[in-house]
Amino acid sequence: MSRYTPVVDTALDRMREMVRGNFDLRWMDANPAGWGHAATPGPAGLRLRDVETGYYGRVPEDGSAHGSMAPRGCAVPPGTRSLGMYTLNEKSEVWAENAGLLYDEAVVRQWNSVTDVPWDRLEKLPDDLEKAVCQLCTNLAEVEFVAGDMPAKWLCRINHDFHEVKLFLASQIMDEARHLDVFRKRALANGGGLMMASPGQEELLAAILEAPDYTTASALMHIFGEGFVLTLFRQGEFLAPTEVEKTIFRLCMQDEARHVAYGVKHLQYFLERHPDRAEQVHEILDVGEQAIFALTLEPQTSEPRAILAGGGLENIQLGMARLAFIYAKQVREYLRRLQIAGLDREPRLTIPKEISIDDLAA
């Protein structure tokens, strides 16, 4: 009786055959349709879209039914087990025409918080400014990684045939890890520290993570949330007291714009095929708009930005007036992006398009 399991015994028998020169070699001819493919690297190198052509560039409307991680375009032997994980099997549920392009761009435009930020140029700031910077960084360290957790939640549910989307989302998770990391570092690096968490932000994060399907989650996070944060990053660069913060916000801004670009193109692709689902997207945006507007009630969210916008605690009211301008910009760009995606949001908008400080003061 063998001391091994049947699996090991079978493998040993097979090895004996190979030692005798009896090889299978059927794999060499298993995928004739996929053989003979070539790609030429361009000046930017060999991009995903350079190899995803012809036979390999055909992305099915419905992901393969075998349910395995076999890469799109290979031969899948009969009997290959399904992992039973994929629930997003329809292309339109995840696809964006720019996903491969954005992945290529993401992997080449990576940066790191260890050496790409000129940390040696940090300067001691007045207490009010340092506290405002640290509170802003606390807020961002809290909110940023939802854009890592949300794709992580859905990644293992996306059919493996849509690998362009999976790769892009994986790059986004890395981007968000870097954002969490860099804002935490900034808060801890200059004599300050982490400040107060934001219960209000958690409402928005919950809405993103609990969204009923991937597309509504993406609309809420990629277009609404990251679009607003993109403007916040631009504001951060504008208000930055030193070259350190300026560099951080500029680098983060680039990443965020890629995520927004995916979100807009995905929603566009989805709504072209499912115009009847626009109402569901509107409904999740209703929730997001209310959650983000409620954030203005939180002192730890709005006041540090007003201090930075005013240039100090003594000018916090001036800073509030400047924030009104930024808010209008955020809403304007949000509506324009949705317009490109095919969603006319303006008539449904549940928050003011702009806030008049004069009216509030009256």
């Binding site: 930017a44 435009r109 660069e237 504008f238 300026k246 500029r250 680039q254 910009k329 324009r336 490109i340």
Partner: protein, 162 residues
């Protein structure tokens, strides 16, 4: 380094040459694929230049007669001549912009510089490639620049619709 008059195609070509010489630094930032229209508002009217970026270089530069002649997918960076001049001089004085003369600083409040475009995603390209675009203009540090009167610029070739 040879000097050039701002604004002119020669001036933008000088920056494009700097970009080519500095390619390793641009490679570190990643490829840039977008079309930027630079609009300079002068007393004689707007002066328009289209700069097409492809990967790590400038693919083409042309002066435009009208904004409508620009490639469809573009964003516009617009400011009065005095603002452009101040930004360029600041870059030259400091070998790069100080905190108050970066492209984002100047454009964020929509004054004194503005970024616009027919399509928000094209405007977003300005944010997406911001480090590369900033470095492109930082090349002005090595380009001795003179500023011409509007009448002098009018003699330069303008790309008109065929």
């Amino acid at each position: 380094m040879t000097g050039a008059i701002f604004p002119s195609t020669a001036w933008f070509r000088a920056l494009a040459r700097r970009m080519k010489q500095d390619e390793p630094a641009y490679r570190a930032l990643g490829p840039v694929d977008c079309t930027m229209v630079v609009r300079i508002d002068t007393p004689a009217g707007p002066d328009l230049y289209e700069v097409v970026f492809e990967r790590y270089a400038v693919r083409s530069i042309r002066r435009l007669a009208r904004l409508e002649d620009a490639a469809p997918g573009h964003f516009v960076l617009e400011a009065p001549l005095e603002t452009w001049r101040e930004m360029i001089e600041n870059i030259r004085d400091n070998a790069g912009p100080d905190l108050r003369h970066t492209l984002n600083y100047l454009t964020f409040p929509d004054v004194p510089m503005r970024v616009t475009g027919p399509d928000q995603l094209e405007v977003d390209a300005f944010y997406r490639y911001n480090e590369s675009l900033q470095r492109f203009f930082n090349g002005a540090a090595d380009v001795p620049t003179a500023y011409a009167a509007p009448a002098a610029r009018a003699t330069e070739d303008v790309c008109r619709p065929s």
